[in-house]
């Protein structure tokens, strides 16, 4: 048997192609490139939005026009030309579907290739899925079942029309328009996204899920997700994404806002698998995402992410622990390969008393990629007895990649207890030797070790998603995961 060495693994990793890189030939309606007030108005008009929404977008556009693109992240990329992107693209045939049978069969094929065969999942997993393709929500399944419980799960454009009072009340409260460059851009041009409202005391009976896909060339995807969990409710929300293989870079700038009112709990899981570019670093998606959650009293927000895609990732899912006794969690696996660059992490802002946060971040870098963890733990003066535990581990494969850790820790209260630890290592020869000795070949041993390394995070994913995440890890590091 040929010995499978780390070099072999590296080679395999380099040559491994993106499996979701197909392009679905669906006629779509795409706006001319460029961005100005008229485009913003046109998007709003297209979505048949009320006046207040148009104004809100225009305000965001004005703020954005005066902002500069941030460059503090540890990533290098050609700055996107914001006037050379089409800000709206929708699959053309867009009738309202009542059941899956009416959906364009080609679209269904797309989903099959993605491995999220809707009907299958519907039956087996009982997951309600909202699919966003080129920023327009295509299908929402299980709507009726959810409606019985009073849960609202629909596209955000639908929510703006049908539940304006909720959208108006919560949109932009956690991520205001002026929050940052990409959030402002998103606020101005977001074309669709998901909206979810869980009423008081309701425990959402199934996982809610959104699938994002960029299909059209030369478009940017800007979706906006708003999840509101009313008092004493619970929801688990999943999000997945893919894009076709293209030579050019595509832009994805999303905003996700979570609001957990008193005693509510939101679990938000992401499997991000945008096209990472080919092995020479050409093409790929620029993923600039603002995700933030607000916790009221006794509330809990838990972010879990598996980041395997995107050429450049710039993403910091955060928790504002405003209410007393609130809890924030962040579990992340970021895998970078070839020329991928990831600068990701979290912010935990402790404002309330007895607030707790946990950060577990695992970075795996291979090829010529750069993987950075950037996190902030802030304990404000009034946050008595705040508690934080952070752990950031990095695994390096090959000597051309890099792993970086930039934790910011700010404590203004003497009762704060903060622990941060980080390690960087490679797969130990002794570990592999130990496995070999027990009859496990090197390939399996590497798989075992990588799996073990990410276990703490994988365990946090909902069952349905854990399988998919495992699969993604396999794709990203194939040859290593058995």
């Amino acid at each position: 048997m040929n010995k499978f060495t780390e070099d072999d693994l590296k080679k395999e990793l380099e040559t491994k192609e993106y499996e979701y890189g197909f392009y679905t030939d669906i006629e779509s309606e795409t706006f001319p490139v460029g961005l100005n007030e008229d485009i913003v108005r046109a998007i709003s008009k297209k979505k048949e939005e009320p006046e207040w929404m148009t104004e809100w977008r225009l305000e965001a556009f004005r703020i954005w026009s005066e902002m500069e693109e941030p460059d503090w992240a540890n990533v290098n990329y050609p700055k996107p030309d914001f006037q050379n992107i089409s800000y709206y693209s929708a699959p053309n045939k867009k009738p309202k579907y009542d059941s899956l049978d009416e959906v364009d069969p080609e679209l269904l094929d797309t989903f099959k290739k993605l491995g999220i065969s809707l009907d299958e999942q519907k039956k087996l997993a009982g997951v309600a899925v909202d699919v966003v393709m080129d920023s327009v929500s295509v299908t929402t399944t299980f709507k009726k079942t959810l409606a019985e419980k009073g849960i609202i799960f629909c596209s955000i454009s639908e929510a703006i029309k049908e539940h304006p009072e909720l959208v108006k009340k919560y949109l932009g409260t956690v991520v205001p328009q002026k929050d940052n460059f990409y959030a402002a851009l998103n606020s101005a041009v977001f074309s669709d996204g998901s909206f979810c409202y869980i009423p008081k005391g309701v425990r959402c009976p199934m996982e809610l899920s959104t699938y994002f896909r960029i299909n059209q060339a030369g478009t940017g995807q800007f979706e906006r997700t708003l999840v509101v969990a009313d008092e004493d409710s619970y929801v688990s929300y999943l999000e997945g994404c893919t894009a076709p293989m293209r030579d050019e870079n595509q832009l994805h700038a999303a905003v996700v806002e979570l609001i957990a009112l008193d005693d509510a709990e939101i679990k938000y899981s992401t499997v991000q698998n945008w096209f990472p570019g080919n092995k020479d670093g050409k093409g790929g998606v620029f993923n600039f995402v603002t995700k933030r959650g607000l916790c009221e009293k006794n509330a809990k927000i838990s972010w879990t992410q598996v980041e395997t895609g995107s050429a450049v990732t710039w993403k910091y899912p955060s928790c504002i622990l405003k209410g007393d006794h609130s809890v924030g969690e962040f579990y992340s696996i970021a895998v970078t390969n070839n020329f991928q660059q990831a600068d990701t992490g979290t912010k935990m802002i402790h404002l309330g008393k007895n607030t707790k946060s946990t950060i577990i971040s695992k970075g795996i870098s291979a090829g010529k990629s750069q993987n950075s963890y950037r996190g902030l733990v802030q304990v404000n003066g009034r946050a008595e007895n705040a508690r934080n535990f952070s752990q950031c581990d990095s695994l390096l494969m090959g000597n051309e990649c890099g792993a970086h850790t930039f934790p910011y820790i700010e404590a203004k209260n003497k009762t704060a207890k903060i622990e941060h630890e980080a390690t960087t290592s490679k797969i130990g020869e002794d570990q592999i030797f130990y496995c070999n000795q027990r009859g496990i070949d090197t390939e399996k041993a590497i798989a075992l070790i990588v799996n073990g390394f990410s276990k703490e995070v994988l365990n946090k994913l909902p069952m349905e998603f854990a399988v998919e995440a495992q699969k993604l890890l396999e794709i990203s590091l194939e040859g290593s995961v058995g």
């Binding site: 503090w72 304990v379 003066g381 990095s394 390096l396 494969m397 090959g398 000597n399 051309e400 990649c401 890099g402 792993a403 970086h404 850790t405 930039f406 934790p407 910011y408 820790i409 700010e410 404590a411 203004k412 209260n413 003497k414 009762t415 704060a416 207890k417 903060i418 622990e419 941060h420 630890e421 980080a422 390690t423 960087t424 290592s425 490679k426």
Partner: protein, 437 residues
């Protein structure tokens, strides 16, 4: 007049006092140009995110103090580590004081930067080492532009300095506000050993701003121990820039004890230019009132098989602010690097703040790097244990704080200095334990 403009115009006056035709002066003029462009750092710079120089830059500092010799040994005796025999280099308001100093040229050079910069004898050393590792940032450039005086220590190959060397910088307060810019150069040859203790001390409450630059070169197998004691008056601010370049198998440690001063910023950087190098940087910070101490460290691992250890402890009371910004940078070639970084903090008061940013940037795969950072309180159980044995709360707290800082203290290699630092800590915590720890 803004301090920056004042410094720029003072440079012309400075040029009249020094030999403008020397090569060193080219370096100075170059540095001045650099400073004119960059100015003082602001909080917009990532490295200065948590430390603002605004409050200390607004004073009207005089740049050239008058000569002052009125200090008697008995007035400043307490600042010397006098129970050991040591070479001493004393500066008063930035000017060398020969009657307080004991320099040497016997086997080793422990003398003055001014003579090193002007005498032909030292020309090769200056050419080779002066201003070579200090990054050309604004504060270093400012110091380089006005570099004239400081300590010059040159330990030749295969020589062990027979006594530790003390560098003391006193400011008399004869001026209402004074800016000092000492420039030190330490060159330690192959297999040579040296121990250095440095202190900045103002004798009155008048404002002082010291912007010091120290460059340390450790050749192969050299051993350098550098200790910094910072326990100054409430109006004295210090920006200490220390840069260490190490060759193969050398061993270099820098200990920083920060107990006082208005604002203290320590920029400490190690550059490892050979294999099997050991670099250690440790610090204890105990501050109160509105004091501000900022440790900004960097270890640059360039070659394989090296180690670095960082251990910083801080205890913050009242409205004090502590900053730790440590960075470990491991280059692609630096395989088998072991780098450890640890930063532990205790906040004693509700108003105290700690900002910690321990960073790792790693480009090599076969390394073991870790960092840890904690912010917490004294263990309630340990306090109870001590109190139940009749130790009053204040003393018990002090004992636990000693224990907390002990890791750093125990690696001080000069016993008398260790004792002195223990005493300083006891004073700082306002207890007398009746025994030495």
């Amino acid at each position: 007049m803004e301090l920056k403009d004042k410094l720029i115009s003072s440079f012309f006056a400075f040029e009249e006092q020094v030999d403008v035709n020397s090569e060193v002066h080219n370096i100075r003029s170059e540095a001045m140009k650099n400073f004119e462009v960059s100015g003082f750092p602001s909080r917009k710079d990532e490295d200065w995110k948590y430390t603002s120089l605004k409050s200390i830059l607004k004073e009207d500092y005089s740049i050239f103090p008058k000569k002052e010799d009125a200090i008697e040994y008995k007035d400043v005796k307490k600042y010397f580590i006098h129970d050991i025999d040591a070479y001493t280099i004393v500066f008063i308001d930035g000017i060398y004081s020969s009657h307080l100093s004991q320099t040497t040229h016997d086997k080793i050079d422990a003398c003055l930067m001014s003579s090193a910069l002007t005498k032909d004898k030292y020309k090769p050393v200056i050419e080779k080492y002066f201003n070579k590792i200090a990054p050309k940032n604004s504060l270093n450039s400012l110091n380089t532009a006005f570099s004239r005086e400081g300590a010059f220590i040159n330990i030749p190959k295969n020589t062990v300095a027979d006594k530790p060397i003390q560098i003391l910088n006193f400011s008399t307060g004869n001026e209402s506000a004074l800016m000092l810019q000492p420039r030190n150069l330490v060159v330690v040859g192959e297999n040579a050993h040296v121990q250095i203790i440095e202190r900045h001390q103002s004798l009155t409450d008048n404002a002082v701003l010291t912007n010091a630059v120290t460059e340390i070169y450790a050749d192969k197998r050299a051993m350098v121990d550098y200790y910094k004691i910072q326990n100054d008056h409430a109006n004295a601010s210090l920006i200490d820039n220390t840069y260490v370049e190490q060759q193969g198998e050398s061993n270099c440690s820098v200990h920083t004890f920060s107990f006082g001063g208005k604002l203290t910023r320590n920029n400490l950087q190690f550059f490892q230019k050979g294999e099997h190098i050991d670099s250690t940087m440790k610090g204890v910070t105990i501050i109160e009132d509105k004091q501000h101490v900022d440790h900004n460290t960097l270890v640059h691992h360039i070659e394989p098989n090296c180690e670095s250890h960082q251990d910083y402890k801080g205890i913050y009371d009242d409205k004090s602010v502590g900053v730790f910004n440590g960075k470990v940078l491991v280059e692609k070639e630096a395989q088998k690097t072991n780098a450890f970084q640890s930063n532990n903090n205790i906040l004693v008061s509700d108003k105290a703040t700690i900002n910690s940013k321990p960073q790792l940037e790693i480009f090599a795969d076969d390394v073991a790097c870790s960092h840890g950072c904690t912010i917490g309180q004294l263990d309630e159980d340990a306090m109870f244990y001590l109190k139940s044995r009749g130790i009053p709360a204040k003393e018990a707290r002090a004992l636990l704080m000693y224990a907390f800082a002990n890791n750093v203290l125990s690696s001080v290699k000069i016993p008398e200095l260790q004792k002195r630092v223990n005493k300083l800590i006891a004073n700082k915590l306002n207890v007398s334990l009746g025994f030495d720890l």
